[in-house]
Symmetry: C3
Amino acid sequence: MPATPSSALEGGAPRLLTLTTDFGLQDPYVGIMKSRIALRAPQLRVIDLTHAITPYYPEEAGYWLSCARGQFPAGTVHVAVVDPGVGSERALALLGSAGQWFLAPDNGLLGLLAAADPDAMSYRLEADALAALGIAAHSSTFHGRDILAPLGAELASGRVRPEQLGTPHPVLPGCLAWARPEGEALRGQIAVIDRYGNALTTISAQQVSQCTNPAVQLAGQTLRLVRTYAEAAKGECVALVNSQSMLELAQRQGSAAQALKLRPTQPVYLLYAHPPLDRVEREPK
Amino acid sequence: MPATPSSALEGGAPRLLTLTTDFGLQDPYVGIMKSRIALRAPQLRVIDLTHAITPYYPEEAGYWLSCARGQFPAGTVHVAVVDPGVGSERALALLGSAGQWFLAPDNGLLGLLAAADPDAMSYRLEADALAALGIAAHSSTFHGRDILAPLGAELASGRVRPEQLGTPHPVLPGCLAWARPEGEALRGQIAVIDRYGNALTTISAQQVSQCTNPAVQLAGQTLRLVRTYAEAAKGECVALVNSQSMLELAQRQGSAAQALKLRPTQPVYLLYAHPPLDRVEREPK
Amino acid sequence: MPATPSSALEGGAPRLLTLTTDFGLQDPYVGIMKSRIALRAPQLRVIDLTHAITPYYPEEAGYWLSCARGQFPAGTVHVAVVDPGVGSERALALLGSAGQWFLAPDNGLLGLLAAADPDAMSYRLEADALAALGIAAHSSTFHGRDILAPLGAELASGRVRPEQLGTPHPVLPGCLAWARPEGEALRGQIAVIDRYGNALTTISAQQVSQCTNPAVQLAGQTLRLVRTYAEAAKGECVALVNSQSMLELAQRQGSAAQALKLRPTQPVYLLYAHPPLDRVEREPK
């Protein structure tokens, strides 16, 4: 999992709040959340991480937050809304880790973040505690606007303490897990297919660095590990450590996801030691 | 029409200005408008509502603003630019309603907002008054940058009063109207098809709540009213009150717009009383 | 080339930094750059110009910056990241022109900006100088995050002087050039195809105004010059000066790029004097 070298903001600097949703940018829902935030914490700086999370796949938001958190200072509040169960009995959760706060539905979204930090604290939000802050669900389908946006603003501005908001409670794990040993390999998963068709995995740079002669195996294929795209032949599918310090599968001048028929959550194996593999030229599909 | 529970900003808080356009995000036009705003009011907070309004359909911007205004504090300035007639003789207008200001071409965009508030004040902007502020059209095609952005900044910063900018003048009504009684029904319209294929109408939650046993009729079909998506059968098209407090037509696990061949401005009828309708399972197209 | 009527910000106003990339908005990379900026300069105002630059076409970013710079105040820092050569030996460059700063890979992106201003100063960034600011490449593929974002923040906040960052060095020219005389015509190029299929050229309004009876020629076709879209017949392809004060090729109610099979970098000729051309009605393809 990615490291978290948090830095302090300059004295008197505005706090940061990030937004990660599956709302897209066509409709005005993101702007409406920002108004709710501005009403309660006008000095807060709001940064969009992405609003293009795959609907029904909250774990994707958690994965991106795990990658990005190292770039944000202590005190940052991250609000994530991928909420297919809104209106049902799913809870809302707050996770504190390394001085940053993560607010989201408790539907697997926070699983990777919790698993990355044994010292993380998590809380299940309680309606009574929210009501004391004047926060309540005015709709059955838009808790991002009604609850998470104003609550994120309150947290970031330091006016409430997490323990006021609910009781300690572990978060749900979700369908992604950080890579773990399994026989002669580490077993990870594909977490995200990015817009270039690269597949980002749950295997970290640190885990890769502990192998002496690693190779990557998935769905009957073996890929060699390279340091940069430029080392791959045209059309070749390879594995490399990306800018997020995670293992990524890529095809030079093509889409690895198409070439290898990859899908999120699919297992990926990092073999600890493997005979060297040849560079193979082939046409991208 | 949606309610407007405006709230005051904290003392000394930055004012808000929202942007709603059909510019998209591919080209840098939105960023250029933001520079013009920052030049005149650097402390102003700018919130993007949406830049994906359907070109040639300014009423869509007015509908979203009607939905969103309740989330913004008094003093907020909303700048909307959907302007197929730029360069022609169409006027620019300013509408004040419930302590918020709306700046837009007078092409129907402001019609719903004016109709929602009998106390709204509207002005037709005059070139002389703008020139006194150093604001003039430097191009015949980008009045959003040349006029509306700097004027919005001046208004939001409180340096000009609306009555300085032009003479009182009613705004043009446009092709959408809030639902009105017509025989044994309320006659509304489809205002927006969202990215999921849901159809948002001009019938408000309040109007729905005044019916004893309502049903929705359009194009020869009758839809039952449900409280949440989960009450609908798979593939069933239903009507429900959405998070914007408006009546919406939706298909469970599908696109109501496709299934029912819906288009913006099409009439929708809310029958005041109707025999109960059965839940009907069917495959989405 | 567009004029640059820079204006000063109000006293004590936050400085501006713009971002122009080919990252898109699907993945969180833009948000991660903004965090790096906020860490070093929390009061800085960040404006997105566009994140939809064509990959492998850095000159497109330079063209948009040339168009937009006139709207930004002195002191603004523009960070542009279109970086197919990241990880190779390409340098990073800083260009100062008319009181604004442009930071980008030295791959042609800055060529138009340098050519527009004979007084521009440019520097090649040096790793030692960056290291003294605590700035270094932590990845081989994301110098936007690791170097350009934090460096842009330092420059905008006035804590470093450009001459501290490297040695004077001319920037690479790239594949676009401002229009120049060639026989009985000015020879320019198509720089950008916008989302409507209009083609923006490197011929400026000022150059057009110096011709007595100009026409536009490209690929065996001659287009007449009009003042507004409305003067064109339906389906007719014409040339006009656009809101960016540049010559643009457009088809009324259609896509000039499709109708004329236009592509970026293609030459376009402005004939100084030409017999008048008739308005021609035809169906858009």
